[in-house]
Structure formats: structure tokens, C-alpha cells
């Protein structure tokens, strides 16, 4: 091979211009821009999160305790190791408007009780603006309170109005418009209210057993040794339920979420890249088809196969670099320009800039895709025999490329998948997604071949006689052109991604909204004190709309040890040992559960502490009867042995606990009750008011609200992903237009001949429309099948729920596919129909 020679020829041929490569460039541009854009936004968020880590966390370090405040010893340590520190207590409660009225509105809120030092970092933005001290100071005997705008709107109150938390009245001083240490993850249940901790002394809200968290934020001296401090704190207080966070990862929840989300979107983007690959392949094929004579000539002049391959690979390489470069410009540039404009609207901090890593990642994907999809047509083109120049036959032998080229394709494809798996950080998901895309491509290729064969047969069948328009449509689908295959592949793959996402989305939504248990509870009620339990039940049942009240004692604790060893070391990072768990006690087997192994203890059991453990979780973390579990409840270690395992029915939305202890083991510990109230929807408002006036310390979580929160979250997730899928579809449409454009010459000729033979324009249009519809519907049907299988796999294996085909989105996919292709086809039908036959037929040979 002579590379210099190849380069010279390549340069000469490239002078011919880019006309045939518009689709090629656009496909690469879109694919690369989507991935580069997703990566750039992700990097901007990551950079924003890490540069504001301390302010997001509220300090350089945060020590976190559940259901208790720090002990004297812990406070001393915090003081000794920091230059400043602040205590923050968070819990959920109801904020009541117009404290004096019974008819007043209520809103659930996440309350943050702070000290005068808060916030250590950043500022709380208030409207009207004022210092924190002024916002909280006591005026006319009423302490101040500030609340998030959303909550103020909901309650219909204004600055200066009196509101109530628990039994304590406050004056609303300002609206919170910005909170330095409040982020996405806090939005969960209810907007923010802030007060001074000392103003809550009389509120009855922070009593023993109520569900609050305390956080101690530390400002460290310069040069403090974080890892050493962490080690020390964990060895001193780790066994007492202390959790450590520091500014090396200030918002782990958000950044994990952002990372997962962008990994997922990049996978969708890669599917889009594969669609673009189909367009790349079609463009290269069309280009080389025009070069058949040149290639044969080069070979007859003595160029080796390798030289010819290099000649065209260089041309394609140059164009691929151009396409990828444009894609990087768009994908990196748009976020860089748009983010500063939108920074205030985003719920997370972002730092604008050009980030090299995501651009590099996108560039690698783009170049590999261009290569993988170019080599096949290229390898076949170099096999053109010089003898072809002197023969009439245009034998379009659909031979496979020779094996070295196939190996090269396989190698490059494996490299692409491996890199994607590494970059995404979710290798298993990447491999499954790749498997899905490759399977879908194979299915689509088979479908395209099958459709072509079927169309060819059908066009020649007797039943087609007398229907020249349909016969022409079928005949041109069944003909030797690559165009129908490229339509089915590109449109089909784009629609497959869309169909699977559509099906997953509707299945998730219906799982949450429609398939709720027949008797969904109206409220989960937390923090009911033992002596309030009977009056509470009576008060609830007094309302005619109440159907039932179920309750159970509840404590919260962290599993700290298993058989005397630190729990996380024994079972790893399982959710059961990660955060604090609800624990209950009972003397009989709870309803809606059944024993799997072991015996339930007698009602008057009074031996050593024992417990019942959920069978599923026990199996997952490798626990069995006889194992000893230590739980840290409010800083106190309590230990019990597993006496039996039982199955739970989580789907019923009843109160269920992983651990049920024997009553004698826990009665001493301070605890509250958790209640589930079943009531008709119209009774909910009345019940809520009764709870707020008669039991001000308790917190009711309206289930309907919670469900709509979850489905709203899913909605926004869904729309982010749909946008990702949208770019895939857009690429598909570009390929489609490319295919239609490639076929336009053939359509123009057919139209001219048919007109000569006496066909009206309507008839010709009808034939072209049929052709587009058949191809589009084929792509849509295969996409529907492939997308549904993918969606089923996700629902069944990942979500572990059932799957149901949602016809609405299914029909939309097939119809949309047919319509999109019809539009692309008709867009290119105009010229054939408008052109006078003479112009086409005059001197065409």
C-alpha cells in the first residue's frame, strides 16, 4: 500500500465538495452534539456542586444524629475541633395558617430549627430582605418564623400574619427565596419552614421519641486533616449512631442522581448515535456507488486493494473529523452559552465552562461510530473488479466483506462498548443497553430483508394485477436499492428507543396511580404519643368518613452490629443497614404477614429479647434464625436474636416493619406510635383539621399528596428522558430524509415514465405514499415489538413489577413512524410530480 499516493488521490477527490455528505455530517453532528451536551451539563453541575460543597453541606463537616441531639461529650469534641459550629434540627410538621381559626389551612412542612450561628456558609435569601436575627427575634411575645414561598402561597398568608407550629404561635416575618444548604433532595415532602430552636421549647414538637434529626456543622481551621478527624469521630461516636459527611462530597445524593441520570441519557444518546451510524453507512454506500468507475479504474491502473481502501478511508476520516468537530462545537457550546442564562432557574449550582472530558468522550464515540459504519460499505467497494469497467452487467452482488474487515468492525465495536461501559460508570446497564440496541438493529435488518422479499413476491402476485400504483410501490421496496433498509433501520431504531421509554413511563405511572391497593390509606400519621393513642383513634373514628385506623408502636434505630461485628462489614452496603429503620414490637404475628421459618413467641413471652425478621431481606443479607442483631436506638445499643422469619406484603401499603421485636425487649425505650388512617377522600380535610387542633404535635402525611409528588418526580424524569429520546428520533428523521433524498432520482424517473404511460399525478402520489407508509409502518411495528420487549425486561428485572402493553403510546409509535416517513417521502414527491416528463426523458441514458 502506498499511503502517500492514497492521500494524494483522496485530496483530489475531496475537492469535489461535500454535497453528497450533508446527511453524513448531520448524523454525526447530532449524535456527537447530544452526548457532548449531556456530558457538558453534567460536568457543569459536578463542578458547581464541588465548588459549593461546603455551603451545600452547611459546613466543612457535618455530624448527623437521628432522634437525639449531641451528648455533652460529642459537643465538647465538636467545639475542640472547629473554629465555629452550628446546630440544626430538622423534622416534619404541619404549619397552620391564622392560628386562631378552626377553619384555617394547613400545610405539611420540613421544619428546620436553627441556632443564631446558622448559616455557617452562604446566606439565606429572604423577601423582604433582612438579617436572620431580625427574622427570628421575639416581638410582642411572638418569635419570628420564615417559610418557603410555596408554603406561604399554599396557606394564603402574608408577612406579619400569625401562624402556628405544634402549640407555638409565630409571626411570619419573611419568605425564604434561597437556602444555601437546601437542595433537590430536601424537596421531598413539604417546603421549608425555619425558626430558632429555642422558640420551640413550648411547642411540644421535640419531645422524646419524635422523629427529628440533628446536624452539627463545623467550620474547620485551615490545614485541618479531614481523614484523620473522620477516623477519630467514627471511632469515638460511630457506635452511637453518629453519621459523618464532609465537603469532599457535600451533596452525595444529588451528585449520584445527576451521575445516574446523565449516564442513562448518554446511553440513550448512544442509541441515537447508532441511528446516525445507519445514516453514515447509507451515505458512504451512496458515495462509493458513484465512485465505482473510479475504483475500477484505479485498480486497473495498478492500485492495490489496500491503497484503494486507504484512499477512501482517509476521505471518510476527514469528513468524520469535520462532523465530530461540528458536533462538539454545538454540544459543548450550547450549554456553555445557555447555562449562564438559566443558572438561576436550575435547582442545583452550576459552573459554566468548556469541559474537555465529556467532549473527548463524545468525540471518541463519534469517530468510532463513523468508522464502524463506514467500513462495511468500504470493504465491499474495494472488492470491485476492474473487469467490471468493461462489462455491461451491473451485478449488485450482496456479498459480505472479507473477514479481516469483519474482524476490524468487531474490534472497533467492542472498543466502543468497552469505553462506554467504563465512561458511564454503569457497566452492567451499558452492556444490557448495547445488547438491546444490537438486538434491535438485527431484528430491524431482518425485518427490512423480510419486508423486501415479501414486497418483491407480493408485487409479482396475481392479486396485484390491475393495481399498478400498489405494484409499483411494492416493486420499488423489493428492488435492489438500499434505501428501504436504511429507512427501516434508522426510523425503526429511533422509534424502538421511544417506544421502550414510552412503555416504561406509562407502566411506572400506572403502577403508582392506578394500581394502588383498592383500599389506599388517606394518611400516615407519625409521632403519636402513647397517651394520645386512644383519644386519637376515637377522634378519627368519630368522623363518618373514616373507615379504619391501624396503629403500631414505632421506634427508629440503626442496625449497628450483627453477631457482635460492625453491620456494614458483615453484609456490605445493603439498604437495611444503611440508614435508620423503623422497628416495632408485637405479641402476636402482625396481619398481612405469614411465618416462613421458626415459631412466633407466646403472648406472655418474658425471656431474653428476640425478634422476627423479614424473610426476603434476611435472605438477601444472609441472616437466619439465631443470628444476633444490635440496634442503636437513641444512642443506646439493644440486642436481640432472630427467632423467626416472616413474609411481608409490601404492596398493600400497610404499616410493615423489617423487624418486629418481642414486646418485653422494647417497652422500656421511649417510643411513639405510627398510625394509618383509612378514610373517604372528602373526609380528609376534616380529619386533618382535627389532628392539627387536637394533636398539634403529630405529623400527618397525606398519602394522596405523597403519591402525586412521586408521580410528578417521575413525570419530570420521564420528560428528561423523552428529550434524550427526542434527539435519537431527530437523528432518525435526518437519516430518513437522507434516504428519501437518495431515492428522489428514482422517484423522478418513475413519475416521468408513468406519466408517459398515462398515469395521473394523483395515482403517482398515491403510489409514493403507499411506499412510504409501508416502510414506516414496518419500522413502527418492529419498533413496537422490540421496544415493548425492552420495556418488559426493565419492568420485570429492574423494577420487579408486572408489565402491561399501553396501547395509547404503542399506536402513537406505529402511526408516528408511518406518518414521519410519509412526510419525508411526500416532501420529496413534489419534484417528481411537478417536473415535466420531457425534462427527464429527453436524453437520459
Amino acid at each position: 500500500m502506498n499511503l502517500r499516493q492514497a492521500a494524494i488521490i483522496a485530496r483530489r477527490e475531496l475537492r469535489g465538495g461535500l454535497a453528497g455528505f450533508r446527511i453524513f455530517l448531520l448524523c454525526l453532528l447530532l449524535g456527537v452534539a447530544a452526548i457532548a451536551g449531556i456530558g457538558s451539563v453534567r460536568s457543569a453541575i459536578d463542578a458547581g456542586l464541588s465548588s459549593e460543597a461546603a455551603s451545600l453541606l452547611g459546613g466543612d463537616v457535618e455530624l448527623n444524629f437521628t432522634h437525639r441531639t449531641a451528648t455533652e461529650e460529642e459537643r465538647d469534641w465538636i467545639e475542640a475541633n472547629s473554629t465555629a459550629s452550628s446546630e440544626v434540627i430538622t423534622f416534619r410538621s404541619m404549619l397552620k395558617a391564622r392560628a386562631d381559626s378552626d377553619e384555617a389551612d394547613l400545610g405539611i412542612s420540613q421544619v428546620k430549627a436553627v441556632d443564631t450561628i446558622y448559616p455557617l456558609y452562604g446566606v439565606v435569601e429572604l423577601a423582604p430582605a433582612m438579617p436572620m436575627a431580625e427574622a427570628f427575634e421575639t416581638r410582642n411575645g411572638l418569635p419570628g418564623l420564615i417559610a418557603h414561598t410555596a408554603l406561604i402561597d399554599r396557606l394564603g398568608v402574608g408577612v406579619g400574619d400569625i401562624v402556628r407550629l405544634g402549640t407555638q404561635d409565630f409571626e411570619l416575618r419573611a419568605a425564604i427565596t434561597g437556602e444555601p444548604d437546601g437542595t433537590l433532595t430536601d424537596i421531598g415532602l413539604g417546603p421549608r419552614t425555619m425558626v430558632l430552636t429555642e422558640s420551640l421549647t413550648e411547642s411540644g414538637l421535640l419531645g422524646a421519641g419524635s422523629l427529628f434529626e440533628s446536624k452539627y456543622r463545623m467550620e474547620l481551621p485551615a490545614g485541618a486533616n479531614l481523614p484523620a478527624l473522620k477516623k477519630e469521630a467514627e471511632s469515638l461516636f460511630g457506635d452511637h449512631g453518629m453519621r459523618w459527611k464532609d465537603n469532599r462530597n457535600g451533596a452525595p445524593g444529588i451528585s449520584t442522581f445527576v451521575d445516574r441520570m446523565s449516564a442513562f441519557l448518554v446511553l440513550v444518546g448512544l442509541a441515537g448515535m447508532a441511528v446516525g451510524g445507519v445514516g453514515v453507512s447509507a451515505a458512504v454506500r451512496a458515495y462509493l456507488a458513484r465512485k465505482t468507475d473510479t475504483i475500477a479504474m484505479l485498480k486497473s491502473l495498478g492500485a492495490t486493494r489496500a491503497t484503494v481502501f486507504a484512499t477512501y478511508l482517509m476521505q471518510i476520516g476527514v469528513l468524520a473529523l469535520l462532523g465530530v468537530g461540528l458536533g462538539l462545537l454545538v454540544g459543548g457550546g450550547i450549554p456553555a452559552l445557555a447555562i449562564p442564562l438559566m443558572a438561576d432557574l436550575l435547582p442545583v449550582p452550576v459552573e459554566t465552562g468548556f469541559y474537555i472530558a465529556p467532549l473527548l468522550e463524545a468525540a471518541i464515540y463519534g469517530l468510532l461510530t463513523a468508522l464502524i459504519f463506514s467500513i462495511w460499505p468500504l470493504a465491499r467497494a474495494v472488492d470491485i473488479s476492474p473487469a467490471g469497467l468493461f462489462r455491461e452487467v451491473s451485478g449488485h452482488a450482496n456479498r459480505w466483506p472479507r473477514w479481516p474487515y469483519l474482524l476490524l468492525i468487531l474490534f472497533l465495536a467492542s472498543a466502543l462498548v468497552t469505553l462506554a461501559a467504563l465512561f458511564s460508570g454503569v457497566p452492567t446497564l451499558t452492556l444490557w443497553a448495547t445488547f438491546g440496541v444490537v438486538t434491535a438493529l438485527i431484528a430491524l435488518a431482518l425485518a427490512a430483508m423480510f419486508t423486501k422479499a415479501l414486497a418483491r413476491r407480493a408485487s409479482r402476485s396475481r392479486s396485484m394485477q390491475g393495481r399498478p400504483a400498489l405494484r409499483l410501490a411494492l416493486g420499488s421496496i423489493g428492488g435492489p436499492s438500499f434505501e428501504p433498509a436504511s429507512v427501516v433501520l434508522s426510523l425503526g431504531l429511533g422509534l424502538t428507543v421511544l417506544a421502550s421509554i414510552g412503555q416504561i413511563d406509562s407502566n411506572m405511572q400506572s403502577t403508582i396511580t392506578q394500581e394502588l391497593p383498592e383500599r389506599a390509606p388517606a394518611f400516615f400519621v407519625l409521632d403519636i404519643q402513647k397517651d394520645q393513642m386512644d383519644p386519637f383513634r376515637e377522634a378519627m373514628l368519630a368522623d363518618e368518613g373514616t373507615e379504619d385506623v391501624e396503629s403500631a408502636p414505632m421506634l427508629r434505630g440503626i442496625i449497628s452490629k450483627i453477631n457482635g461485628m460492625p453491620a456494614q462489614e458483615v453484609v456490605g452496603d445493603h439498604w437495611v443497614v444503611r440508614g435508620d429503620r423503623g422497628i416495632t414490637y408485637a405479641s402476636t404475628l402482625p396481619a398481612n404477614s405469614s411465618l416462613v421459618e421458626g415459631e412466633w413467641w407466646p403472648e406472655d413471652y418474658n425471656g431474653p429479647p428476640i425478634m422476627s425478621f423479614s424473610a426476603d431481606e434476611a435472605a438477601e443479607i444472609g441472616l437466619g434464625i439465631g443470628d444476633e442483631i444490635t440496634v442503636n436506638i437513641l444512642g443506646r445499643d439493644m440486642t436481640a436474636k432472630i427467632a423467626n422469619l416472616r413474609e411481608l406484603e409490601f404492596s398493600t401499603m400497610r404499616i410493615n416493619f423489617v423487624m418486629v421485636w418481642s414486646e418485653n425487649a422494647l417497652t422500656g425505650a421511649p417510643h411513639t406510635f405510627l398510625s394509618t388512617v383509612y378514610a373517604a377522600p372528602e373526609a380528609e380535610g376534616r380529619l386533618l383539621r382535627v389532628m392539627a387542633t387536637e394533636f398539634p404535635n403529630i405529623t400527618a402525611i397525606p398519602v394522596r399528596d405523597a403519591i402525586s409528588q412521586v408521580s410528578a418526580t417521575l413525570d419530570s424524569l420521564g420528560s428528561a428522558i423523552r428529550w434524550g429520546a427526542g434527539t435519537t428520533l431527530l437523528t432518525g428523521f435526518v437519516v430518513l430524509i437522507g434516504a428519501a433524498a437518495a431515492g428522489a432520482e428514482a422517484r423522478v424517473f418513475e413519475a416521468a415514465v408513468l406519466k408517459t404511460l398515462g398515469a395521473t399525478r394523483r395515482r403517482i402520489l398515491y403510489s409514493f405514499a403507499l411506499r412510504s407508509l409501508i416502510l414506516g409502518a414496518t419500522a413502527g411495528l418492529v419498533a413496537l415489538a422490540a421496544g415493548s420487549i425492552a420495556a418488559w425486561a426493565v419492568m420485570y428485572f429492574v423494577m420487579e413489577t408486572g408489565f402491561e402493553l399501553h396501547w395509547g403510546s404503542a399506536i402513537a409509535i406505529v402511526a408516528g413512524g408511518a406518518l414521519a416517513n410519509l412526510l419525508a417521502g411526500l416532501g420529496f414527491a413534489w419534484r417528481p410530480l411537478a417536473t415535466k416528463p420531457a425534462q427527464i426523458l429527453r436524453n437520459r441514458t
Partner: protein, 222 residues
């Protein structure tokens, strides 16, 4: 004049070229009688194909009148012209112009089907047999030689039994021996069905087989 099948009156054609309007036909007046065979000759570029396209309604004139079988083309839109061709005209081109995705039989049957003929395929098969291609009916154009393709094109033009046959250098792309057999076929078909024939050719010996010869020079009749 009464039995005139084709009648052209001061017909002009000016096309829009890159460097402005190009006059191609500069006032052609001509009558072709029923059953007549007319040879149209002239040097390359003189406007023969253009004139034939006008006669077939595949191009619209920019001046003058064309009327075929008493029908004034100026009053017909594109679709009406197509319907007119379907019922009255067969056209043969120098480069065959078969539809590549249809077999020989399907190509021949298409104009019959467009005319709503229920026996389109039977008639098409008979027509192919008449041009000697009985065993090529299922071949695609790419599987046929040039001469065979032109025979299919002849069969396609003749199958609907048109009143008028227009042929534009039907042998121009073929070697002389094949060309001769195509010409034999063409005149044979015409003789059998008695159609009016306009044959464009620049070969004098072919033109000589016609009843009348006219010559075109630079857009005007000599």
C-alpha cells in the same frame, strides 16, 4: 385536413437556459394524416426530440397550437394529457425507459392497467410474444440486453393499441443489426394495427421506409 390526426400550427418552444431563454422550435406547422408514417430527420440538436415531446404532450409549447385527434392540447392540463396518452398514444424512446423495479411483463401491463383493462396481463403476455420475448417475461430490465429492452418498450407502447405511435430514435442506442430488427418490428406493429407513426431518426435509410420525410434544421422545417 379532415382526416388529419396530428396538426401543428406555428408551434414554438423556448426553454429557459442558463444564459437566458433559448429558442428551440421557431414556428413549426405540420399535419399528419391518419395511417401515415412520417419520418422526422435532421442533425443532432435540431429539435427533433423536442418536437416529438410536444406531440406527445410531455412538454408544453410556448406558442402556436397543437391538436391531436381534434383535441386541442392547450386546453388540457397535465392529468388530462396523461389520460389522453393512455387512450391514444404509445411512445418509444432512444434509451428505452423501462421501470427497473418491474419485470418485462409488468412493464408492458402497466399502461393497460392504468387504462383499467381487466385483461392487462394476458394482453401484455401476448404482446411480449409478438416481439419474440415469450421466455423473458419474468426478467427485470437489468437482466435484458439493450435490444431486448427496446423490444419490451415497443410491446409496452403497442399493447394498448394506440392511434398514434411516437418513436424517438428507437435504434440510436443499439448496434445496426439489432437496430434493424427493432425497425422491422416497429413497422410490423404499425402495419398490423394501422396506427399513425411519427419516427425520429437521423439515419436516412431508416427514414426512407416512411411515407413522407420532413427535415428539421435549427428549429425550423426545411
Amino acid at each position: 385536413m379532415g382526416s388529419s390526426v396530428l396538426s401543428l400550427e406555428n408551434v414554438q418552444l423556448t426553454l429557459q437556459g442558463n444564459a437566458g431563454p433559448v429558442p428551440i422550435l421557431k414556428g413549426i406547422s405540420l399535419n399528419v394524416e391518419k395511417g401515415e408514417t412520417l419520418g422526422l430527420t435532421g442533425p443532432s440538436g435540431s429539435g427533433k426530440s423536442s418536437l416529438l415531446m410536444l406531440m406527445g404532450g410531455l412538454e408544453s409549447s410556448t406558442g402556436g397550437n397543437i391538436s391531436v385527434l381534434g383535441q386541442d392540447f392547450g386546453n388540457l392540463n397535465e392529468d388530462a394529457l396523461a389520460r389522453f396518452r393512455r387512450n391514444h398514444m404509445g411512445i418509444v424512446f432512444q434509451s428505452f425507459h423501462l421501470i427497473p423495479t418491474m419485470t418485462a411483463l409488468e412493464n408492458v401491463a402497466t399502461p393497460l392497467e392504468l387504462a383499467g383493462d381487466a385483461e392487462a396481463f394476458a394482453k401484455a403476455a401476448a404482446e411480449l410474444e409478438a416481439v419474440g420475448l415469450r421466455d423473458r417475461t419474468d426478467h427485470y430490465p437489468s437482466q435484458l440486453s439493450g435490444g431486448e429492452q427496446q423490444r419490451v418498450a415497443l410491446a409496452r407502447a403497442a399493447a394498448p393499441r394506440p392511434d398514434i405511435l411516437l418513436a424517438d430514435e428507437p435504434t440510436g442506442n443499439l448496434d445496426s443489426k439489432t437496430g434493424e430488427s427493432i425497425m422491422d418490428l416497429l413497422f410490423n406493429l404499425r402495419d398490423r394495427h394501422g396506427a399513425t407513426l411519427v419516427l425520429v431518426t437521423h439515419a436516412p435509410e431508416l427514414a426512407a421506409r416512411c411515407d413522407r420525410i420532413i427535415e428539421l434544421h435549427d428549429g425550423v422545417l426545411a
